[in-house]
């Protein structure tokens, strides 16, 4: 399997808590990502999706006014060319079965459970990118 190059992937971090968003961005930089866009909620993320053009989205579930599930549902119908296949990782403390089921139906690749730990984030992100690379024709 090909090794993903973190420095070559643009990530979009969607999180409404300023501190957690900054913490995740810091962890991603430590992991090796250089190009990181940020959004405060689902609406903000959708408004910048085409300009950000991310290769990976890391997204909280509980956000106001548009939560992570609604964001991904809307994203999958979006006209942005990569809307249907961009890998999404949820960042959340919600692990209830109905939410997990809904998330995986939307093609969410993985969960990172809060409190976010750098090692766990790194494993999930790199595994997700490896899978995305393997799917490429």
């Amino acid at each position: 399997m090909m090794e993903p190059d973190a420095a070559a992937v643009r990530v979009l971090v969607v999180e409404d808590n300023d501190f957690i968003r900054e913490l995740v961005v810091t962890m991603l930089r430590e992991i090796g990502f250089r190009d990181i866009a940020q959004a405060r909620d689902g609406h903000d993320a959708l408004s910048q999706i085409e300009t950000a053009d991310p290769g990976l989205i890391i997204c909280d579930i509980s956000m106001q006014p548009m939560d992570g599930l609604e964001f991904v549902e809307t994203l999958r119908q979006h006209s942005w060319p990569h809307a249907a296949e961009v890998p999404v990782i949820f960042l959340t403390s919600h692990t209830e079965a109905p939410i997990v089921k809904r998330a995986f139906k939307l093609g969410v690749e993985a969960y990172v459970v809060k409190p976010v730990q750098k090692k766990q984030l790194e494993v999930r992100v790199m595994t997700t990118l490896e899978r995305a690379l393997a799917r490429r024709p």
Binding site: F19, I20, E22, L23, T26, M27, E30, S62, K114, P115
Partner: protein
């Protein structure tokens, strides 16, 4: 300082005010960057706690729940374990719309937050140890 009382086994009483391992895992050491990040936690959590107080006073369960959930997640990530445990109790109470229990838990939140603020302020002035109890 948080001193557990004999027989008090609540998660908040057993938790550290500030567990520095969370920041150490990211930054390697408690340096200027880690302290700046903890200050960002304080700055971004203060307005959430104010919103929690207003929402509880007005019995707005959804608003209280959203703010509590956000503050709890940030506190866990910052290593403010005592405060996170109190917020978890508060989250349960607001979900159940148990306003007396929510008020009782909320009374403990402000002093716990002040203890975290004091612990973060001290970090710039003295060498960091493992955590603060």
């Amino acid at each position: 300082m948080s001193v557990p009382t004999p027989g008090d086994a609540s998660p908040a009483a057993r938790a550290e005010i500030l567990d520095l391992e969370r920041m150490r895992e990211i930054f390697g050491t408690i340096d200027g960057n880690a302290i700046t990040m903890l200050r960002r936690y304080i700055e971004s959590t203060a307005p959430l706690l104010a919103e929690i107080g207003r929402a509880i006073a007005a019995h707005r369960a959804e608003d209280a729940g959203n703010a509590v959930h956000s503050a709890k997640g940030a506190s866990l990530s910052a290593g403010a374990d005592e405060l996170a445990a109190l917020l978890a109790e508060l989250e349960t109470a607001t979900k159940a719309k148990a306003w007396d229990a929510a008020q009782a838990a909320h009374v403990q939140v402000e002093p716990a937050f002040r203890r975290v603020q004091e612990a973060v302020m001290r970090l710039g002035a003295e060498p960091a140890t493992t955590g603060v109890r």
